[in-house]
């Protein structure tokens, strides 16, 4: 079953009086368990596409279906809940909450969902899994870039999401660190069958993907 379906999605941004067409009719199906790269040069619309899939933005036209649910039918709270339960995010700039420790950052999405206790333990295990046991109490600014991105990975995975969206996750890391982060993501993908959709413009990163879709000027290239 396709975990993500994008149908003829377009996205126009309004910049003053000019309309910037960031996506011009993108159709895409991502199967459950895929490890997929969205490739393309800067400005080609990768972030825009990932934002649509991540329910962070609405398409100007077209449809986005996540785990069988047409997201246009959901209100803002329902979309938030969908993100909390079904999606995980990894950002190019890590985006950790600076005032929270590594452990608290990872625990955060669990607390947002409420529900059963033991979030702290789960967060600890997630940190352990990304190789950061012992760094629980460190604040983000006490961690290296690679470590921060690993915290972000732990945060994205702690809720057992169906789909993890990663917008250029290695762009701010040196190549060795980027490599090991990719390894980590691959390992999780193989083990838990978590769908990974990540964008990149780095050919070496594309190589590791199971499937690569190329975006050029807001359109999928054949």
């Amino acid at each position: 079953m396709a975990s993500v379906q994008v149908e003829a999605a377009t996205k126009d941004y309004q910049l003053g009086k000019t309309t910037v067409p960031a996506l011009r009719g993108v159709s895409l199906a991502v199967e459950s368990g895929e490890f997929m790269a969205v490739a393309g040069p800067s400005g080609s619309g990768k972030s825009t596409l990932l934002n649509l899939i991540g329910c962070l933005d609405h398409p100007t036209s077209g449809r986005v279906v996540i785990a069988g649910q047409d997201v246009a039918a959901l209100d803002d709270d329902a979309l938030s809940d969908l993100r909390a339960r079904t999606l995980g995010f990894i950002f190019q700039t890590f985006n950790l909450i600076p005032v929270l420790s590594a452990l608290e950052n990872v625990e955060f999405p669990l607390l947002l969902r409420g529900g059963p206790h033991g979030g702290r333990e789960r967060a600890r295990r997630a940190l352990d899994e990304v190789g950061l046991a012992g760094f629980e109490r460190h604040r983000p600014d006490e961690l290296s870039g690679g470590q921060r991105q690993r915290v972000a990975v732990a945060r994205a995975l702690v809720t057992d999401p169906v789909i993890v969206l990663a917008d250029e996750p290695t762009a701010n890391l040196d190549s060795a660190t980027g490599e090991s982060l990719l390894e980590l993501m691959l390992e999780i993908n193989r083990r838990d069958k978590t769908t990974f959709i990540f964008s990149t413009h780095d050919p070496r990163v594309m190589e590791r993907a199971q499937r690569v879709v190329r975006l050029v000027d807001g359109k999928l290239a054949a």
């Binding site: 934002n51 933005d57 803002d76 938030s80 809940d81 950002f91 985006n95 950790l96």
Partner: protein, 419 residues
């Protein structure tokens, strides 16, 4: 919830300088507002309380259309030479007290302008004729510097220091009051000085007023047993007076009694005028202060929303609903407000205690009037140190609401792009 608290607190501590600055503005503003309240309250009690217990009373009853023959509106401090008087005051006092148990006692009073002389010395005075039997119950603030209070039947008079000096009179002197009867004839009455009066707190108001027996004034004016006004004192001094006067008026209307009850607030004249002005100015100052503080808090909240726009995007991406974002920023403002309020309440209480001891000096004659003396001594009341700070917490919340709402309504994709 624990999470939101942690986040709010840590974010406040993250910008120590900014937080400290806003908090101290809050502390200062609130402390000044708290002190201001105690200050105006002290001014009110310094002047109004003695006035209520020495001249105004709480409720005053006049004959219907009492001043119809001279301009229309009654005045509590003007001589009542041409007033339509209340016949048989004891009966009406009795009736009012029966109708309104919240009033403790009533006193018949008749006031007239007269020329008072002691041998060759003479001066214009106002004779305040009161029923000596009711004086203690209604005018407890009238105290003596010398001598004793007059009793019924002796036509005694109490002078204030100024009048006594001008007339060269002392306790025991016999004076002659010259005035007009109600129908315009010249008349005179002999009065014996039994004491020198003072109302503590109203020294500055010692105009040529002399308390004397109402019987002497009635004789001078040749008006039988008529009274210009009946003055009533409340049982519970803190209770609001307006409902009491209203119920007295309702009783008058019901029984067809041609009389009107006024509250001391309506009749307060110079005492109340100054107080209202002070109250009004204090309100404006409070308002200005609240606006300044609100602007500071709003500015702080706006800054924290702007610099954390991307963080908002991240929180939304991770699954936080709009309401959470709203709560995060509101909580920050509330923490700030509570800290500022607590500090302000303490600092304000400290200032009140300090000035309560040292006294706030009067710098002008006008201030001496509103302070009822050379120094004003504010007192600490729970209401003053809690109401203002609590209100300011609410104001902080309101001030932060706009920025917080702005953060909550940002579109996640947009906030994530923000640098």
């Amino acid at each position: 919830m624990r999470l939101l608290l942690t986040l709010a607190l840590r974010n406040l501590f993250r910008h120590k300088r900014r937080t400290a600055l806003t908090a101290s503005a809050l502390v200062l503003g609130i402390a000044l507002m708290v002190l201001g309240r105690a200050w105006t309250a002290a001014m009110e009690t310094a002047v109004v309380e003695p006035a209520r217990s020495g001249t105004l009373g709480h409720v005053e009853v006049f004959a219907k259309d009492a001043a119809a023959d001279e301009g229309g509106s009654v005045s509590f401090i003007m001589p009542q030479n041409n007033y339509r008087l209340i016949p048989d005051p004891p009966a009406l006092i009795e009736r009012v007290l029966r109708a309104e148990p919240r009033l403790a006692a009533g006193l018949a009073r008749l006031m007239v302008g007269a020329l008072l002389s002691n041998g060759d010395a003479s001066m214009e005075v106002v004779l305040i004729g009161i029923d000596p039997k009711a004086r203690a119950a209604v005018y407890p603030a009238v105290e003596l510097r010398a001598g004793r209070h007059f009793v019924a039947g002796e036509k005694g008079i109490l002078l204030n220091r100024g009048v006594a000096k001008r007339l060269g009179a002392t306790v025991g002197s016999t004076l002659v009051a010259l005035g007009n009867t109600a129908d315009g004839r010249l008349a005179a009455v002999k009065l014996t000085v039994t004491g020198l009066w003072v109302v503590k707190g109203l020294e500055a108001y010692e105009w040529g007023a002399c308390y004397t027996d109402i019987a002497a004034v009635q004789e001078l004016m040749d008006v039988g047993d008529g009274a210009g006004v009946l003055v009533f004192r409340q049982r519970d001094l803190e209770a609001p007076v307006a409902p009491i006067a209203a119920s007295v008026n309702a009783a008058f209307a019901r029984d067809g009694v041609p009389a009107v009850a006024y509250t001391w607030e309506e009749m307060g004249g110079p005492f109340i005028g100054g107080m209202l002005v002070t109250r009004f100015i204090a309100r404006i100052m409070d308002f200005v202060m609240a606006i300044i503080v609100a602007a500071g808090v709003m500015n702080t909240a706006l800054m924290s929303v702007f610099e954390r726009t991307r963080e908002v995007g991240t929180l939304r991406a991770v699954g936080a609903r709009r309401s959470r974002i709203l709560a995060i920023f509101l909580l920050e403002a509330v923490f700030l407000g509570v800290a500022g309020a607590a500090g302000g309440a303490l600092a304000g209480a400290g200032l009140i205690l300090f000035f309560g001891r040292a006294g706030i000096p009067a710098f002008s004659e006008a201030q001496r009037y509103s302070y009822g003396g050379d120094y004003l001594y504010p007192t600490l009341h729970w209401g003053d140190v809690t109401v203002v700070p609590a209100m300011m917490v609410v104001i902080c919340l309101l001030a932060a609401f706009g920025p917080a709402l702005m953060a909550a309504r940002m579109r996640p994709a947009e906030s994530l792009r923000y640098v």
